[in-house]
């Protein structure tokens, strides 16, 4: 039987009460629900507290560089299209350091699932503002309050017509599991912006703060204009659920080279190499 125990139990370095624990449980539950065994998926992460998740469940894992999780993840999927590829990292890693890769991944539409542990703060480096920190929030590095406007990942993703854009909250276990499950099932790039409170360095966006504000959306997720409107809301009400959904062919299914299994299994065809060489005659 596949259940959350299939993915093992590991000692973590996360603070007790950190939202990351809930994300981990939700991810394991979503994987178990779909019967995906540890050797059948790759989890890729960058750097940050969230990114350590690779070490806290049984998986094939690639714990890469800060901001760069999406790059290896997409290439892993292209090189090994049969694998399920999950990417997890924080808001700083994904939207700050990795902002350009985030935009490009949406455009590229490789069939991977990105789960962003969005706590609106830098946890690993102890309390600096992140791209999603709200304006006015006083942080260690912004004692006068953050002047910059926050980055709205879901609005950007919907604006770019990412195939699957969702938001959830780590405190709502069932909702989180359902959202991750749908994201994995979506045949293309899927974004799950998962609010997950940092109990040590974010005293504004707390568990209670999210719980009070996160409300399920009711619009038709295939209606782009409606999704665009909903995606812009963030404050007294935070819309959660699937904000936008649109299917189109993913790059890994469009490239002829990616058909018929993993690239490494395709042997060198010396006769073909010779043909390429003799084209220079």
């Amino acid at each position: 039987m596949i259940d959350t125990k299939t993915y093992g139990e590991f000692k973590t370095s996360w603070c007790p009460g950190c939202g990351n624990h809930d994300v981990l449980v939700a991810v394991k539950a979503a994987l178990a629900d779909q019967g995906i065994l540890p050797h059948q998926f790759v989890m890729v992460s960058g750097i940050g507290q969230a990114a350590k998740i690779v070490h806290y469940l049984k998986c094939n894992g690639f714990n890469g560089l800060h901001g760069r999780a999406l790059s290896p993840a997409q290439a892993i999927k292209l090189a090994s299209p049969g694998m399920t590829v999950l990417v997890e990292s924080g808001d700083g890693c994904t939207y700050g350091e990795g902002g350009n890769h985030f935009l490009a991944a949406i455009r590229r539409n490789v069939n991977i699932t990105l789960i962003v542990h969005d706590n609106q703060i830098y946890g690993l480096t102890k309390g600096q503002s992140s791209p999603t920190t709200m304006t006015g929030h006083k942080t260690k590095n912004n004692p006068l309050g953050v002047f910059d406007q926050p980055f709205n990942p879901v609005a950007v993703a919907v604006a770019m017509r990412a195939g699957f854009v969702a938001r959830t909250f780590s405190g709502f276990h069932e909702h989180a599991v359902q959202t991750i499950t749908q994201a994995i099932q979506h045949p293309g790039f899927a974004l799950v912006d998962m609010h997950s409170p940092c109990i040590s360095f974010n005293k504004v966006n707390t568990f209670a703060w999210y719980k009070e504000r996160c409300k399920e959306v009711s619009h038709d997720p295939q209606d782009w204009a409606a999704a665009m409107t909903v995606a812009q809301a963030f404050g007294e009400k935070i819309p959660i659920g699937v904000l936008f959904r649109e299917e189109r062919s993913s790059k890994d299914t469009m490239l002829p080279q990616c058909a018929d299994g993993a690239l490494y299994r395709k042997a060198v065809d010396m006769a073909a190499v010779k043909r390429c060489m003799l084209a220079y005659a």
Partner: protein, 608 residues
């Protein structure tokens, strides 16, 4: 040695005839064969012919030089053709320099038998580089004052529209060289087939009338004797790198366009579907390198072509390849820096960048191809070294080598050893440890190949790949990684030595400049100088025993490099303590030539 008069004579003779040694046969062509404007009594045509074609970007110089290269090589001559282009799409001034020989030719020529000008500016820029005598092909419409050797071509008559002028020039040159029209016709049909029959037939008409005109009105400039012993190919260094990668089973290429490396990615794109290569144009170089690492982790042999500026952005990924023990081949095609530098020119100034790229300490190998053959075989070898050592391996090329066209015998695919495979077993998956301590090379399994779970980590990690803080594990893991250097050291290519055993003058070089050093060495020896050269095609790691006796035996050692600080000499000093005093350095963005080296060697030779 009282060298002064001797060496100045050598240099002068070199610049005029690019070191045609006295022993070589010279063919005499009589004045009667030349048009009236030609006042010179005779011209010597050697077993080499040097041509320069100049024009503005957008005038079709690229097309015509490509067609000419192919025709000359198909006619059985050896050749080297180097582009000198400005970084622009229209206007400016570009030129293409062609060295044709009956035997393999080495560096680019310094002076020319023929200057084919597509713009007036070209005449002014290059007429001083003509040999004495030499021929200038110019447009009759320019009404230039008659220079010695000037041939005025009536382009207005030969080419109905300016767009056909490049083909008209091709026809004229082709006829002067005595090449058959058929060598061009098939190529023209192929080149313009997608533009419709009318364009093809117009081009063929222009070619035919231009060749006819030249037979009647232009002097003939016979090609060196054909070498019928082998059917040669023509390609440039980047194309040879592509073939080397294909032969090694490259499966993924991550890149961001940057001259002069782009054509490697484009060459792979061209055959991507047929050859099962995923070529991904990334959003930036950081993504390109990190993608390659991801693909390599998933088992796909990966290549990352770039130039210095792009590579600078990739250095964190290089470090990740080091700690995660991921095999990746970086091809760094150098161009002059700092920063944007000279985008379309050449230099050898990124040796130190590549040697030290990436924070922390980890093993690496740097191969520096000197020839087209090296571009092929060393790229293939780079993939094997990367797999064997489970880490980053570099091919350090440069713009000149990358883009110069050369004739080459087909590469021998039979001699290529199979590339080292990862661990494709799935033995005891529960206890599989990606970074186990059984030896410096741990079993690298592929995620999804079996039940084994494969963990790659950028942190310091334990045997399983999990993040750790323990000092003891750290030291053991770092020692394990560094021990892989033994694998790289066991396969180091020794430098190639040629020349006199106890040389008065030993030239030391690496990469693309080696060919010029060989040419200079041969020239000096022919002129009675005890000379030798030591050519490195692997610049890291270095094995001093393979070259120290040579350095110590020579009376004077000179490093010849395409940079301004003698980086390789510095590396030799750091590695061996041997200090090379004399340098010949070129850093004006132009390819090193034998003439350039000879001129600068003169004071050193005089002081011997």
């Amino acid at each position: 040695m009282t060298g002064k008069p001797i060496f100045s004579t050598i240099v002068r003779r070199w610049l005029n005839h690019s070191a045609k040694y006295a022993s070589r046969k010279m063919v005499e062509i009589h004045a009667a064969e030349w048009p009236r404007a030609w006042e010179t009594k005779e011209i010597f045509v050697h077993d080499e012919l040097h041509l320069i074609m100049g024009g503005e970007a957008g005038q079709g110089l690229d097309t015509v030089s490509g067609l000419l290269v192919k025709a000359v090589v198909r006619s059985g001559r050896h050749l080297l053709g180097a582009h000198h282009v400005m970084s622009r799409v229209r206007g400016g001034h570009n030129n293409f320099r062609l060295r044709i020989g009956s035997r393999p030719v080495q560096g680019p020529p310094d002076t020319f038998h023929l200057l084919a000008a597509m713009s007036r500016e070209s005449v002014d820029l290059h007429k001083d580089k003509l040999k004495d005598p030499g021929i200038i092909l110019a447009d009759a419409a320019w009404e230039l004052p008659a220079l010695p050797g000037m041939v005025a071509i009536p382009f207005a008559e030969l080419a109905p529209r300016p767009v056909f002028r490049n083909v008209a020039l091709l026809g004229v040159i082709g006829a002067m060289l005595g090449l058959e029209a058929s060598l061009f016709e098939e190529q023209l049909e192929k080149e313009f087939s997608d533009k419709g029959d009318k364009i093809v037939s117009s081009n063929l008409d222009v070619l035919s009338s231009s060749m006819k005109w030249a037979v009647e009105n232009a002097p003939s400039l016979p090609l060196p004797k054909a070498d019928a012993s082998i059917k040669m190919l023509s390609m440039d260094g980047n194309q040879a790198v592509v073939l080397g990668a294909l032969a090694a089973g490259v499966r993924f290429c991550g890149y961001y366009p940057m001259s002069p490396a782009t054509t490697i990615a484009e060459g792979l794109v061209h055959v991507a579907v047929e050859m099962n290569v995923v070529v991904e144009q990334a959003e930036d170089e950081i993504a390109a390198a990190n993608m390659a690492l991801g693909a390599a982790y998933a088992g796909a042999r990966s290549i990352v072509p770039t130039s210095g500026g792009g590579f600078a952005l990739m250095t964190e990924a290089v470090s990740l390849a080091g700690v995660s023990e991921t095999p990746v081949v970086f091809v760094v095609v150098q161009r002059p820096g700092p920063a944007t530098g000279l985008a379309t020119r050449t230099e050898q100034a990124d040796l130190e960048l590549v040697l030290y790229a990436g924070h922390g300490e980890f093993p690496r190998a740097i191969l520096a191809p000197a020839t087209l053959e090296d571009c092929f075989y060393l790229t293939h070898k780079a993939f094997d070294l990367a797999e064997k050592s489970q880490g980053p391996v570099f091919v350090l090329s440069d713009q000149y080598l990358a883009s110069a066209a050369r004739s080459v015998a087909p590469f021998d695919l039979e001699v290529l050893a199979p590339i080292t495979e990862p661990d494709l077993s799935d033995t005891d998956p529960e206890n599989y440890r990606r970074y186990n301590w059984d030896g410096p090379i741990s079993p690298r399994r592929i995620p999804g190949h079996g039940q084994s779970l494969v963990l790659a980590d950028s942190h310091e990690h334990d045997e399983a790949g999990h993040i750790i803080e323990d000092g003891g594990i750290r030291v053991r893991m770092q020692d394990k990684r560094l021990a892989k250097m033994a694998v790289l050291l066991s396969e180091v290519l020794p430098p190639e030595f040629s020349g006199d055993e106890e040389a008065d003058l030993l030239l030391v070089g690496w990469g693309s400049t080696c060919e010029v050093l060989r040419e200079v060495t041969a020239g000096l020896r022919t002129n009675g100088v005890k000379a030798a050269c030591l050519c490195f095609t692997q610049v890291w790691p270095l094995v001093p025993e393979t070259f120290m006796p040579r350095l110590e035996a020579a009376r004077t050692v000179v490093t010849v490099e395409g940079n301004s600080t003698a980086q390789f000499a510095g590396l030799l000093r750091k590695t061996t303590g041997f200090h090379i005093q004399d340098t010949v350095l070129r850093y004006d963005g132009r390819a090193l030539t034998a003439g350039f080296v000879m001129e600068r060697l003169q004071p050193i030779l005089e002081a011997l």
